[in-house]
Point group: C2
Chain length 241, copies 2
């Protein structure tokens, strides 16, 4: 059984290595981190406890088909930290057997063997502003397993969210530690609870421009991609889109 909080779509992936990709979302409950600026804190802070359902992989597929019909061939599994779920491999197999590609994002604190079956795997270690500390030996281990399976340049990416100077230095460090892994830097959502869409968008675009400027000025950050969160630009902080 998989603890599921949300199943929705089709929509687009708003960030990272397959930004813009038409996809469905499955959001799992539970996280081993407590990032200060977590934009899905409801997955772990108890506030949506009564919405968590224990679903079989067949149930998940049934609900995906119900929501998406014939209009999807890609599913994004997000959290929380879906890497906490050992049995997610069964869902990934079922999705593949039904002609879907699968994307997943995790902070890189836990390895699962089914990482090697994910088509678009985003490892997103958390910068200092999150209040979390990165276990680099764990991250080394994950990325060397991906490398051994020859999936570094095709199915994997690193993504770091940047809020401030210290975060940017952290991003440079991560990129230099794993230069062969496609690298994404992303602006953070400064206010994941506001419903003031106009201010949110103009603030995000200002932050995005500032991050572009930082990347442009850094010779340690050449082979990188800098992205905003497209879904926030369109829908603000609304859930389920």
């Amino acid at each position: 059984m998989i603890p599921v909080l949300e199943i929705f779509g089709p929509t687009i992936q708003g960030e990272g290595m397959v930004v813009g990709r038409k996809t469905m979302f499955v959001r799992t409950a539970g996280c081993d981190y407590r990032c200060t600026w977590c934009d899905s804190a409801f997955t772990w802070d108890g506030s949506a406890k009564e919405d968590i359902r224990q679903l079989s992989v067949e149930d998940v597929w049934h609900e995906l088909k119900q929501a998406g019909g014939e209009n999807f061939d890609h599913v994004t599994i997000s959290g929380g930290n879906p890497a906490l779920l050992r049995h997610l491999g069964d869902l990934i197999d079922l999705l593949h057997n039904n002609g879907c590609q699968v994307a997943l994002e995790t902070q890189g604190s836990v390895w699962q063997d089914w990482f090697l079956n994910i088509d678009d795997l985003t490892i997103s270690p958390k910068p200092p502003s999150s209040g979390m500390e990165t276990d680099f030996s764990k991250l080394d281990d994950i990325l060397s397993k991906v490398e051994e399976a020859d999936r570094t340049t095709t199915h994997t990416s690193l993504k770091v969210v940047v809020f401030d100077k210290a975060d940017f230095a952290y991003a440079e460090h991560v990129h230099q530690r794993y230069p062969q892994v496609p690298f994404y830097v992303q602006v953070g959502n400064p206010d994941p609870l506001t419903d003031e869409q106009t201010n949110l968008v103009s603030g995000l675009l200002d932050d995005y421009e500032a991050l572009v400027d930082r990347v442009v000025a850094s010779s340690a950050m050449n082979n990188v991609r800098v992205l905003p969160q497209l879904h926030v630009l369109i829908w603000g902080n609304k859930r389920g889109v």
Copy 2:
């Protein structure tokens, strides 16, 4: 010699298959099309005639280094239609020899053998609203050459700009004709001359949401990516950024 209109950067690629990628830009002069909504009409309408310089490939590299220093490893060649320039292959070789990856966008009206040396090749056939007509036998020819060289899924993409319903039907047609080629749909810039940044951004985001809705509703458009133009969201219609 290469007819060059602009050399600038580092900045980010605002659209297409390497959206967000830190890059330099080289803009060449001349186009065989006359799209109604062309956002770089100055490359062919005579209005920037006195800015066109005939540069050797060494000159182009020298100016790139002068502008970018050590802060780049990727160069985007845009136009106009750079595919009109038979000798661009020399520039691509020089860039590769200096450790740069090379991206190029063209509408797909002309083949050049050096297409097979481009790391990120975007073929962007023009939809009905452009006023241009696509020569599909030419497009078939280009994409089969790319396929023969086994570069379809790794180094190539198709991109169609969508302004209206007819454009969307055209995009569906192109995607179905070449289903194996990574496919991008993009909102057009409704007003490539305005300097009213705020209205431009909110209009673009509305158009982007509408395009996402169209893609979501179409089962012919599952394996696609829908993107806005990030540089327009940040900088509006300003040139040289």
